[in-house]
Amino acid sequence: MDALMLLLLTVITAATPLLLAATGELVTEKAGVLNLGVEGMMIVGAVTAFAVAVTTGSSGLGIIAGAAAGVLMSGIFSFLTLSLLANQVATGLALTIFGIGLSSMIGKGFVGLAVTPLSQLDIPGLSAIPFLGPILFGQDVLVYLSFVMLFAVSYVLRKTRIGLILRAVGDSHDAAHAIGYSVLKVRYLAVLFGGAMSGLAGAYLSLAYTPLWAENMTAGRGWIALALVVFATWRPARLLLGAYLFGGITILQLHGQSFGWSIPSQIMSMLPYLATIAVLVVISGDRAKIRLNAPACLGKVFHQTK
């Protein structure tokens, strides 16, 4: 039982950065904007969070700075694509390239430093429950936040007026504009929210997951988060499933190797990708439903004067 608990704890740490970034990107895409710069925003968030945490000695400030850095990065993106009408795919890719370079530059003085890992925040009473307590209620603040944000996003998108407006903007920006909603304002806010979440995912990497700064430490997690949004067909519940499936199988295959399963390690390394794609493709097989959930204006440029 103890071993299983440790395994689950590790799975949570592997899934959290994916879940945070993917939740942000989901909102961005639901508003009709495709931001491929998740990896770039995440890495800048990671380095900023680390730099601030080391300089001030406060993880809390580090987390806030990480989110702020993500917002700034997405601000550049939204200005270029929404105000200057630049191509979203190209701008997003450029944002990632820019982010990786910028983070190396900011991080130069921070290579080889260590920071105290983000402390866990036990929820009084609940964390004492045997087995489930430490897993569900003995985590750090960003893990709780990843769940809270996912449920909040799910609720807002489905049940509230704001969610309805956001989806309207993503599905038909011309119609939303004609009714009188400010397409630009909604999209700006959605992109900035995505940036903040990517920044938090980065902060989680450099403050909690592996509390250090190393160049390129996101190692492709931003791209995984992006892929999860598509494979989850823009549905929050499936995003949760996808992130945990991917994280879970990544960890499980490492445990399997250490346990001595006689499956070649190369195949084990492929497993998280194969399994996540297979499961999400199978449960999302209904084309009509995909069309229902996919934002129809995703990636399309909106000309306000039209």
Binding site: A14, G112, A114, P117, P211, L212, G220
Partner: protein, 363 residues
């Protein structure tokens, strides 16, 4: 994963393009005798393998001042992209190019054929050509010392090894560690987890967690970031640094570290090109020549430290070799009898586990 690769390539292409453009722009103003290029597999900020190579590059700049200028390209994927980057360096007037990862072997040989006047130095490979030398460190010597320490320090009799790819270089390290460990503690065994990457701090750390969760109380690694050692520190078990001294990540857990020292070799080879005495060859230096050093022994009881120092001295003087017989492989076959020693040819092609390693070697 295809999507990620594609995008990384696009990114890399952009970087190389930019680097080339800058190179061309400033070229006429330079009056140096030699341009030296370096191709790195990871970022220079990895604090491990690539970081140490870049320190070697800086030593070259320091040693020759204005006579030599250096260029480096970091995070170059092994494979077709490497060929493009190496070609680009050769095309832009570099007279000496160091390619610093095993996977650059075939691209280096291919490019070298097209540029017979450019000298190439490939790290950790085994293919040479008239203008391609190979060089590597006998890092397994340090791993043997680590194994001896691990054997004496482990309470669970299980050590954990975070490994990258099943190539001879890595397998040799695993075996040397195991032989060192078994030499002082016949009951100890080694668990290996392959992460299929040289560099992904998160995954490397997760692999260390998996090993610790399954009873390993000593963690060592053949990947490039400090994450496995840092995980050991956070979980309260002991470990070793890799490629450079990582004590700041694990003040309570690092017992020693292998430190790669490329400086003397890089300076000597650059000088040879400047003097016109460069010749193709194969260099495999270790503790004796100083290409490998050990970080100070820390967090060790006196008797373990003494044994570690003795082992280190014996390996350095050549009195002892990490692969002295008797050695038995996993299947129980004797590969070296008592009094025999595995030769370099066998070590360079090592493709089996010795007794004491758990699991089977991925092929």
């Amino acid at each position: 994963m295809t999507q990620i690769r594609f995008n990384r390539r696009a990114i890399l292409g952009a970087f190389v393009g930019a680097a080339a453009a800058t190179g061309l722009a400033i070229a006429p103003a330079q009056a140096e005798d030699l341009k030296v290029g370096f191709v790195y597999v990871g970022p220079i900020g990895d604090h491990g393998w690539t970081y140490r190579h870049d320190i070697g590059r800086l030593a070259v700049e320091e040693a020759f001042g204005d006579r030599v200028s250096t260029t480096y390209v970091e995070s170059v994927p092994e494979g077709a992209d490497a060929e493009r980057v190496i070609t680009q360096l050769a095309n832009s007037g570099h007279g000496l190019i160091f390619t610093t990862s095993f996977g650059y072997m075939n691209p280096t040989i291919k490019v070298a054929k097209r540029f017979p006047n450019v000298k190439f130095e490939h790290a950790t490979g085994y293919k040479q050509a008239p203008n391609v030398s190979t060089y590597s460190g006998r890092f397994y010597e340090g791993r043997f010392v680590q194994g001896v320490i691990a054997g004496m320090m482990t309470k669970t009799n299980v050590a954990g090894y975070v490994a990258s790819f099943p190539i001879p270089e890595v397998v040799r390290g695993i075996n040397a560690f195991t032989l060192g460990m078994k030499s002082v503690n016949p009951d100890a065994s080694l668990k290996v987890v392959w992460v299929s990457t040289w560099y992904d701090p998160g995954k490397e750390g997760d692999a260390a967690k998996a090993l610790i969760d399954q009873g390993a109380d000593i963690i060592t690694q053949h990947t490039d970031s400090p994450a496995p050692l840092q995980t050991a520190e956070n979980r309260g078990v002991m470990g070793f640094g890799q490629a450079s001294d990582m004590i700041q990540f694990a003040p309570k857990s690092q017992m020693t570290a292998n430190i790669d020292d490329w400086n003397p070799y890089y300076v000597a080879r650059t000088k040879a090109v400047l003097d016109g005495t460069w010749e193709s060859g194969d260099t495999w230096h270790g503790l004796a020549e100083g290409m490998l050093a050990m970080a100070p022994f820390t967090n060790l009881p006196a008797d373990v430290q003494k044994k570690a120092e003795e082992t280190l001295a014996a390996l350095t003087s050549g009195e002892m070799h990490a692969f002295d017989g008797p050695i038995t492989n996993q299947a129980g076959e004797v590969v070296a009898k008592a009094g025999e020693r595995l030769d370099d040819g066998v070590l360079l092609g090592m493709n089996y586990y010795v007794e004491g390693v758990e699991g089977s070697l991925p092929k």
